[in-house]
């Protein structure tokens, strides 16, 4: 399968990438890992006339700790996050990175590309919206910092202007006493999940001070389980509270039936994943080392 023909531009800097985009207009797209774009082009879901390749821009791939934040270059590959000792400070990031597709796709796919693609089944947006995350984006007019919850507006839709490029993703490191976990149910490795849940809890003793729950693949964008959060916030996190919260999360999901399963099936999955992710998050919040791995059919 040949993708449709396009003109290829190799950007040497972010500024150059932005001006190439501006020059080529609506017919241009950025190319990062290509792990979403190339398959879409083969299927003719995308037929850009111009591709601006970000892969040759120096210093666009890095993981750094800066004060209480982790900074990721937009071109940082999933596998680099999976294997990073710096990123390991926030274990939910490893849950996410290590569970995306397979080794080959993780070696190529990028964090910036995943967020910009805004696929309703993409893992990163779900996980990063349980943390304080923002994106620094460069356009011809300069740079702006956009909080993740304002960045994705709909399925496959972001607030990026046609000439804007994501430069960096900043994630606030959760405080002591906070723990998170991310769990997905997948039919195989190289496919998107059927359903997924990310949970971040902050404990004081056994009582939940703060909690963020997001569900993936069960809505057009990551869905916030606000009622479930309400059940857990201020409660002591025992079996009963978690069971009630899972019930709430099930009803808050808004799944569509597709080849991965019926709406009812996905709702069931969300409940199970939420409970398991919460238990793992609580143990991590208490300082335990917990290995989390997705569930495979």
């Amino acid at each position: 399968m040949f993708p449709p023909a396009f003109n290829y531009h190799r950007a040497k800097s972010l500024k150059e990438a932005a001006s190439m985009l501006a020059q080529a207009g609506q017919e241009a797209k950025l190319l990062a890992g290509g792990q979403s774009l190339i398959p879409l082009m083969k299927l003719r879901f995308a037929s850009p006339k111009h591709l601006v390749d970000l892969n040759f821009i120096p210093r666009l791939s890095y993981i750094k700790k800066y004060k209480d934040e982790l900074h990721f270059g937009a071109l940082t590959r999933h596998s680099e996050i999976e294997n990073s000792a710096t990123a390991a400070a926030v274990p939910i990031l490893h849950d996410c990175a290590a569970g995306i597709a397979d080794v080959q796709i993780r070696n190529r796919g990028t964090l910036g590309g995943s967020l910009a693609e805004a696929d309703p089944s993409g893992d990163w947006a779900v996980v990063l919206s349980t943390l304080e995350t923002s994106l620094s984006c460069v356009g011809q007019k300069g740079e702006r910092r956009i909080p993740l919850h304002d960045f994705i507006t709909d399925a496959y839709t972001t607030v990026l202007a046609p000439d804007e490029v994501v430069r960096e993703i900043s994630v606030k490191i959760p405080p002591q006493g906070s723990g998170g976990a991310y769990l997905a149910f997948k039919r195989a490795a190289p496919v998107y999940p059927t359903a997924s849940v990310a949970v971040q809890v902050t404990l004081e003793g056994d009582v939940c001070q703060e909690v963020a729950i997001r569900m993936g693949c069960v809505g057009l964008t990551p869905i916030r389980a606000s009622q479930a959060e309400g059940v857990l916030r201020g409660a002591s996190l025992g079996e009963k509270a978690i069971e009630i919260a899972a019930e709430a999360a099930r009803s808050e999901a808004d799944p569509q039936p597709d080849m991965r399963g019926s709406a009812e099936y996905k709702r069931m999955l969300v409940g199970v994943l939420m409970k398991r992710a919460t238990y793992a998050a609580v143990r991590r919040a208490r300082g335990e080392r917990v290995d989390v791995s997705h569930l495979y059919a």
Partner: protein, 178 residues
Amino acid sequence: MPKPAVGIKRVARAKTRGGAIEPVPLTLTVNGKAYSITVEPRLLLVELLREQLDLTGTHVGCDTTYCGACTVLMNGKTVKSCTVFAVQAEGAEIMTVEGLAKNGELTAIQQAFGESYGLQCGYCTPGLMMCTYQLLSSNPQPNDSQIRKAIAGNTCRCTGYQNIFKAIELAALKARGA
């Protein structure tokens, strides 16, 4: 030097709505051999290898980034070459299954796949051996779950995977000289 003629003919034919496509010069190393050619931007890395460099050991199974038959190493990391544009390999070192054997001698990985019956039809084998290569270069003594994770992106329709798993264990042993 390879035969760039095929690529140039394709370039001449490729058109988008609204104008001719600029061919792109490309310099890369494949299995230690340097190439300088001109390609059409939409040419996939796997097509470059198979159709233009005659390295047909890399297979196309699904062409949808699923099966891993097209796996090659790009700067030491496995990629699915049906999902990388050739132009993105500018300056890169590519290694294909043809790059494994040295002077006609099979390497430990290849011997192990043969000895463990880790293949039947062999279609998936080149991709699996490249995945084994990346695994063992970063982790010479992988445990069970690390082996399974390393080949999660590769489909085999024949073996049922158990012998592939054994082949990778054996390859690790052989490579360590154990």
